[in-house]
Amino acid sequence: MGLITKINGLVYKNIAKYSSVTKANTKKVGGTGNFHNKNAVAKSITAPGDLTHAIHLADSNGDFKFTDDSAFSISFWIKVGWDTSVNATVTLFHLQDYDASAYWDDEYRMIYYEPSNRVYFYWGSDGSNYAQQFWHSENLNPTGDRDYSVMLTASGLGHGGNWNAANRGNVGNDDYTLITITKDTANSNNYPNLKMYWNAADCGYGYYGTASPSGMTGTPNLGSSTDKEIGLGSSSHIGSGAGNNVESKFMNLTIWNKELTSGEVSELYNSGAPLHAPSHSAYANCVGWYPFQDDGAGGISGTETFTISGDSNIEAK
């Protein structure tokens, strides 16, 4: 009955979308109707360097098998907790082969490097073959294909402003920010092949905005292993790069097997209120949805569950 009520409450286009998903998925949607105003994941770091405090997912069924020529999008809400004294990397999202023992092993990785105030996105197959891009908030060279002021405006961090709990920049509801990465099928780190959105605002060219410097080292050639692992808030293989001992909160992680358009990212942003993902017009392309309302379970039936360990937990916003 709850499911029927939920569907009846949707607009026509979403009803059409529901008709294209599996019965199992429809059932799962019905169980998560009360999405808003519940919980988020918090990460409190006391012992980085292993997975004992990690938000970690092991995937063996190929849901997140992205290679260098895959189009995909990753989006999550984050309430930043770290402060300026971290002076180190804060991992935001890390996807790599399950048997990885080091960075660059068939990975996609998003970090905030606090000492230089840069939001990085990497992918690589080894330390000699990787792509990198970063965005920052410096009001330099404010024209042309390195118009850094675009990121400055999108983030609201201010010129030279570091991103931290005291300066979260532009936020949506409850001081959460929606960070979205979109990538097309090109093995290219340049705009518009790779984009970052801050609360659905396109951050424009990153530092490696043109051919030189390219941000490409060798040619990343990610393997096709189906067994992946994901770390949220720390590296997926060893739980490092976890910031300092202040909680950052994540919620509503979505992973898509397409490059979301700017309009679709705006739809996901939903004017600052985290969207119930199944009501998104591109939900058929959503391969991972993790609301983190009660646990690390996926909102899409058949997807595997995040293990939330140690001082990482589910708590109120």
Partner: protein
């Protein structure tokens, strides 16, 4: 590539174009740098980025509040860009 810890004063005299990585300690009195130049007045010199990372890990309370030091990949891959870092 050469890996050093130098004082901030020494760092300020170095040729920035030859520096590929820079990290101040928390007190901002010392700087870990990788550079193609040879520095004679360093506080520490390391054989490679792994040794530099290990040192900052062993002394992480001076270098980060992340429970660890600088990671080797950071030293190898986070590029110092004077245009936007200074």
């Amino acid at each position: 590539m050469n890996y050093y810890i130098v004082t901030t004063e020494v760092f300020n005299t170095m040729n920035k174009a030859n520096i590929s990585f820079r990290l101040f300690n928390l007190a901002e009195t010392n700087v870990l740098v990788s550079t193609t130049d040879t520095v004679g007045s360093s506080l520490q010199q390391f054989a490679d980025s792994a040794a530099a990372a290990t040192y900052t890990g062993d002394n992480h309370t001076d270098w980060t509040n992340a429970g660890c030091g600088a990671q080797q990949w950071e030293i190898d891959n986070i590029e110092y860009i004077p245009e936007i870092d200074d």
